[in-house]
Structure formats: structure tokens, C-alpha cells
Amino acid sequence: MEPMYLFSLVSLQQEWLSSRQSLVAQNIANANSPGYQTADLVPFSKVLDKSALLMSGQDPSHIRTSLLDVHSVGDRRAETWETSHSGNSVSLENEMIKSGEIRGAFSLGAGVLKAFHSMWLSSLKG
């Protein structure tokens, strides 16, 4: 583990949050599509558990797995608030709450990154 583990951790979290934001966008866009099921990412803690086991390759583009791939997109059927008559399980309110969570976590991550980066810079500049 590198000493500045935090930077890669925050960057992984930002990536997870962006992917989650794209799923929120997907759910909202399909809020009126008949038969559409709400999708969400697996929690970040699970991503962390898994990331330690990821294979490493010569070139990162060879084995790069995206957070948006099929295995990490969990289907949260049990957690939906309501299912309409058309079989659509998107709740706009729930998506807005998720959106707010993403925003809060993203700004926290960016703040932490900024603080540590300025700490780093101050040690470089003296």
C-alpha cells in the first residue's frame, strides 16, 4: 500500500459516484417507460472489498473493469418505493434523494482531496 493511499481511494470513490450518477440519470430518464426496473450500483464498501482482488495487467486498458459493467449494477427490486401499474418501479423522489447523497459525498471527497493536496504542496514549496 502506498503511503498516499488516500488519493487513489478518493479517486475510486469519485468514479463510483459518477457511475452512480449516471444510473440515477438512467432511472429518471426511464421514469415513464413501461416495465423498467430501477437500477443502482452495489454499495461502495462492497466495491472496496472487491477492488483488492482485481487482477493487475501490463497495460491498464487490458484488464480495466468499469464500475458500470453488468456485475456491479445491482438490481434493487426490494428497495423500490412503489411499482406503478405499467410495471415501472422508478420513484422520482427516491432518485432525488440519491442525487443529493451523491452530491454530498462528491463534495466531501473533493474537499478532502483539496485539503491533502494543499498539505502536499505546502511541504513542497516550504
Partner: protein
């Protein structure tokens, strides 16, 4: 594809779908009293719009599209108005099967979904600018 850029693409697909829905609602409301031109002719038939999710292979996400604009085959409203040029032999006029309340409710719902899509766009812009702001003041 960058997830944030993909989000913008998805949200814009949502905006396009919802605005098509608003267009259909306005067509229905504008034609709520469009009768036929000849005696006994069929009036304007209410249009319906339905959405479907569509996999976008470039970004691996699910967009939304308008799958079909169909017609509502419910019976027409009939009114007795012998003076109307579309009246049949008994003096009945067929009026379109448009119910203003249904159209207004549909408009509200399209409005709500459109706003939610706009909210997504706003949020994506904020997230991107938060990332750019990391560089501000530190150089």
C-alpha cells in the same frame, strides 16, 4: 465513456422523450373540438405516446426513446347538434375522445419528469465543476 458525460446524454434523451410527450398533449388539447367536415365523418382521434428503454452500446447505458405514437381507440363523445356540418341524419355530432382533465394530468406528469431531467443536468454540471475547482487556488 465517462459516466458524467453519459449522464448528460441520458438526461438529454429523457428531455427529448418528454418534450415529444408534451407535443402530443398539446396536439390533443388543440384538437379537442375538431370534428369531421362531412356529415357523419369521424372527428380527430386522441393520440397516445409510449416510451421504451433502449440500450446505448457506445456508453453501455440505457437511454429512453419514444417507442410509438398511437391512437386512442376509445369511443367518441357524441353530442346532439343538428346545426353542425358534421351532424349525421339523426343530428348527432361525433366529438374527439379527448378528455381535458386527462390531458392536463399528463401534462403535469411530463412537466415533472422534464424537471427531474433538468435537475440531473444541473447536478452533473456541479459535480464536474467541483472537480475542476480542485485545481483552483492551489497553483
Amino acid at each position: 465513456m465517462d459516466p458524467l458525460a453519459a449522464s448528460l446524454k441520458i438526461a438529454s434523451a429523457g428531455l427529448a422523450a418528454q418534450s415529444t410527450r408534451l407535443r402530443v398533449v398539446s396536439e390533443n388539447m388543440a384538437n379537442a373540438f375538431s370534428t369531421g367536415k362531412t356529415p357523419g365523418a369521424e372527428p380527430y382521434q386522441r393520440k397516445t405516446v409510449s416510451f421504451a428503454s433502449e440500450l446505448d452500446r457506445a456508453s453501455g447505458t440505457t437511454l429512453v426513446k419514444v417507442s410509438s405514437i398511437g391512437v386512442d381507440s376509445s369511443p367518441f363523445n357524441v353530442e346532439h347538434d343538428p346545426g353542425n356540418r358534421a351532424a349525421d341524419a339523426k343530428g348527432d355530432v361525433k366529438l374527439p375522445n379527448v378528455n381535458m382533465l386527462v390531458e392536463l394530468a399528463d401534462m403535469r406528469e411530463a412537466n415533472r419528469a422534464y424537471e427531474a431531467d433538468l435537475q440531473v443536468m444541473k447536478q452533473v454540471r456541479d459535480l464536474a465543476s467541483m472537480t475542476v475547482d480542485l485545481l483552483k487556488g492551489s497553483l
